[in-house]
Subunit: 352 residues, 4 copies
């Protein structure tokens, strides 16, 4: 059994990790870290776990945890892990970090967008960006530190990745309009996230300044082997879970001057995703919807070729707490330990 | 592998059966019945099942289905199964009926509350009321026909059962105020169930006339060995899943004239439910909430003893599509085939 | 023009007061009190008021406010007004208190249920309980202090009032099961009121201990001229506005031994409410729903006579921020200044 | 008093017209047309109108209605009014059509996008496109036929109008990502609009094919004096009311090669909207949100200048049933009769 520790176990992503790991046949959770609930029973915070988890919450003692656990999941605020991680810890256990601390290779970019100093840039080179469908080859039993991708970024990157990589779209025209359920905003007690503030409302936020932007740009830049600058606009939707991205880009004409057809583009997607268990390309004419992936690790995708505007409209949907956070973390863990990648993640989406 | 057929597979309860049976290690679904979607791919109706179910929907041919399946689940309108069931079918396969057709032993009561003629009353005596925690001994490999209890009734009965059986409350004073998510209203296209009609609203309906009333009264009557008449008021709540019942009854005084304490009543509940996997009695001071059971087969319960009014307020919460329908049907199926009762039902509740 | 000051103007009830008073032809708001937003523009807190309100928020200086305003509305936590109110202030201006400080005549009952000391019990005798439909005669231009009723209590009391007063029900059997939208929980930043905690959930809270209980008991006791003890159970519903109460009581038989008919009970309701602008008795067979009163000052009522259980099930619905708070406060203000009672309150309910 | 008739009075837009006209001091509703509820009391369909409207619903007899009414509002399906309208009717009464029948001047474009034949193209030239802030001069007491703009289009056009007109953006790059509450989908009983299908979900629909696209293109084409082709993607959001549009376009550089600043663009917006009562430009850094306009006739706007991508992100929010339908219809009516444009529309947005 793999011994897993979770720091930030009482946040929404942490809670989802618990749900998934309880179902994982090869994992045992040995540490429920929650600074704000030390000594409280975990199941008194998340009562869905009543009679399923008997442990109490513990302090965030990373050093001790590194001794006890085979893998540590940090579902913590930005800067937390970067401020504590040491070579000694990395020599003892593996880390899957759900924060942004090791996602961006350029420490200057990180510090500019996140507004904090990075305390351990020496580990940036070693950290692997854990977008399994793209970076699978680098996530191995030798990997010690995985930077688990963000929820918006997972959805945004995967949806555009094949077209950027194959040069089918003009990357300069790429616009990502994203919509997220409210669990993405976390469990902090803020007026802006109260029921009455979110319900019966939709708004954009972080326009032209959201922190997931550079992560998207870096990864799509690797794909396209070019510098990428995108417009990324997140919106808050009155629902618990789910992210939908609507992406717009100008299609490049083919050598004969015509636009690629839906079928030609589909063939490109298939080349990358046909064998991917967790990517489901929708049939022609079907738009992905967040309800169809809820509770599961799937990313659903679809697209429309618009001859009038010469644009492609790509859409991607995932559950922000599963493929956008905890599910992807488990997927990474499976790779880190040489397990079947989908183990513990065979979750049938739950509707309604 | 047990071969299962589902009639009414594209209703909400039918869809939930599919979700649960796909996860069941010993079941194979051989028939997705849906009169309104014949020859359509099941996954084109419920797109959460995309790439998980390749079958098309089939007509409601019960006779043929009885040949092919080891167990038939009927998630159908009232009167459907009663109108078609024959001794020959029962000799070939087992039936778990999610409608009310065989729940009420007195055909006159059935016909009065449901307003339709019962076409096969000859099977009423044989049918077993499938409330596993109460009737487990009668649900065996010899049972051919299970009347799967209603969603409101499962929650209402189980919450009051130990106290009625032990005579701790004055049954004449029992009032059940129930609140349900909207999936309980089914997937029919009705104006009253449109998003804008349900959202931002709460209402009572079927006041003093809801069809689940006689089912509750009959079963609690068996428990208390007396005639039971209750006030039952359902309410429609703007959420997808979940039922909460709040039950009020006058407590009987003990021989010494005092009221029983919380601890004494808890001991009675424990006598019945301590070993029940799917019943979770909450700690003192904790009220059950539907969010903590969502997606799972649990019934959560709690109660308050009110010395001021000499009443007990009992509360029960379940997921109407799982323990209130499909989950309980699978639980019954497990008993019918001598499997572990919880197989395929080890679902961790999903929050948020 | 009546000069009005509001303390607690950035809470939900305070915000609703602003909405209503802006529409009132005879009122000018001179003071937007909000301790937590001093010197901020009011419309930067409530952006619905952008370009409608230019004022900044001010501190809670009651003494100065008493100089400037003809009427002061206090939408403040329990104990606030009781701790500051003086005879001098009362000699200068009128107070409509939306907290519970002056609702309960018995200071011991107040202190027991609210768990705080009452700092100015000397004003309790003078304070008028501002349930206009019941106490209209006492709310006059000579009244200086109005205790504006609570949201649950307004709905609970008005729904049962005629039957209690006329002795049609056995008061000892009265059970009130109440359901409220989330704005009733206020705008404080608490985890329990976050969107993801409230959405897709229903729960009871404050079972047998909610602070509105003694207020209901006191007022119904005046009506029935007897001591009243009720079971009152509030529930939190995932919607912004609205309260629905479902009340159960045993009907008293008539002299001839029969139960009163629906029509006979309706006649009693009509005697009290037929001329009340803001009380709408529904037709036979129609249950009140919160959506039909949203944004308005109406209380909708309906009831069912259940011959089987010999009970009446009464239902009442209102908008907790209007008739349950700000609307009723304006209704009281109108009476205090000899205006038409419905002025500024001719709000057509907004659906959907 | 202006006598108003409504055809389609039991749809959501029709219901909102009733709410607004009841508050209008110079209007009397003389005809509640609803083909599906003939002879039913209007208030039995919309119970918020209980005791406010005593009329019964009537058939859609346009000829008779033209005799009785000074103005007829048609909140009807596409093709309805075009199929019935005659010169005789127009000679007797004014029409404000909330459908698309007379919005698009080119009958070929209409027939292509709507898929139906236009039965009275002879009135297209006369019809005035009723976007008051743009076309006010043409909506006069001599106007007989107003094509009331669509909900998405009102929001989309007004948000981009000043920049298109002044040539500040490259119109070819304009992308409109729109999000709408569910009342925009109407009150028809469709599975796709059931509560459980819409709740906890977001989806795009009508991608690259939505019927509001040519209307936006035509009007922006007039503004820019050029041919306009836009990408327009509507999304369905789980809320009752509200539309938010997020619009992306490349900014044109100034003569000196630099991008215009936020302040410079704001000055352009102000030139068009500063005196507009119903357009509220937000302060720098503030994004419009649908909750701040709910129930009112306001359009809130904001924008961000993104130096990185050289794009402007414009946002607009309105209540789809008010400024997006009934409110704008009343605004047009006011102009048609020479009344104050805002009469009956002084609605303070209702939050929460």
């Amino acid at each position: 059994m793999i011994k897993a520790g979770i720091i930030g176990a009482t946040g929404y992503a942490g809670g989802e990790l618990v749900r998934l790991l309880l179902n994982h046949p090869q994992v045992e959770i040995v540490w429920y870290g929650s600074r704000s609930h030390i000594e409280e029973k975990y199941s008194s915070v998340y009562r869905n776990m009543f009679r399923l988890v008997e442990d109490v919450c513990r302090d965030d003692n990373l050093a001790e945890l590194a001794e006890q656990a085979d893998v540590v999941f940090t579902a913590t605020p930005q800067g937390f892990l970067a401020g504590l991680l040491t070579e000694e810890m990395l020599s003892k256990t593996k880390f899957v970090d759900l924060s942004a601390d090791y996602r961006i290779k350029d420490v200057g970019v990180y510090e500019k967008w996140y507004g904090i100093e990075h305390k351990s840039p020496q580990f940036l080179a070693e950290a692997v960006y854990g977008l399994c469908e793209v970076n699978r080859a680098e996530i191995t039993e030798r990997t010690r530190l995985v930077a688990n991708p963000g929820c918006y970024t997972t959805c945004s990157i995967l949806t555009a990745y094949p077209l950027v990589k194959e040069g089918l779209i003009d990357v300069d025209t790429l616009i990502i309009d994203a919509k997220s359920g409210t669990s993405g905003a976390g469990r902090g007690a803020k007026v802006g996230n109260l029921f009455c503030e979110v319900n019966e409302n939709i708004k954009a936020y972080g326009v032209a300044s959201h922190r997931h932007t550079p992560e998207i740009e870096e990864q799509l830049g690797y794909a396209g082997n070019c510098s990428v600058t995108v417009s990324f606009t997140p919106h808050l939707v009155p629902m618990n879970r789910g992210i939908l991205v609507t992406e717009y880009a100008r299609l490049r004409r083919k050598a004969d001057g015509s636009l690629p057809t839906w079928e030609e583009i589909r063939a490109v997607y298939d080349r990358y995703y046909e064998k991917e268990k967790f990517v489901r390309l929708q049939d022609k004419g079907v738009c992905p919807e967040t309800r169809w992936v809820e509770g599961s690790n799937y990313v659903d995708m679809g697209f429309v070729v618009d001859q009038r505007t010469e644009r492609i409209i790509m859409m991607g949907a995932l559950d922000n707490l599963v493929k956008g956070a905890a599910g992807q973390a488990v997927q990474n863990m499976n790779l880190l330990f040489g397990l079947e990648e989908s183990q513990g993640l065979e979750l049938v989406p739950c509707f309604p």
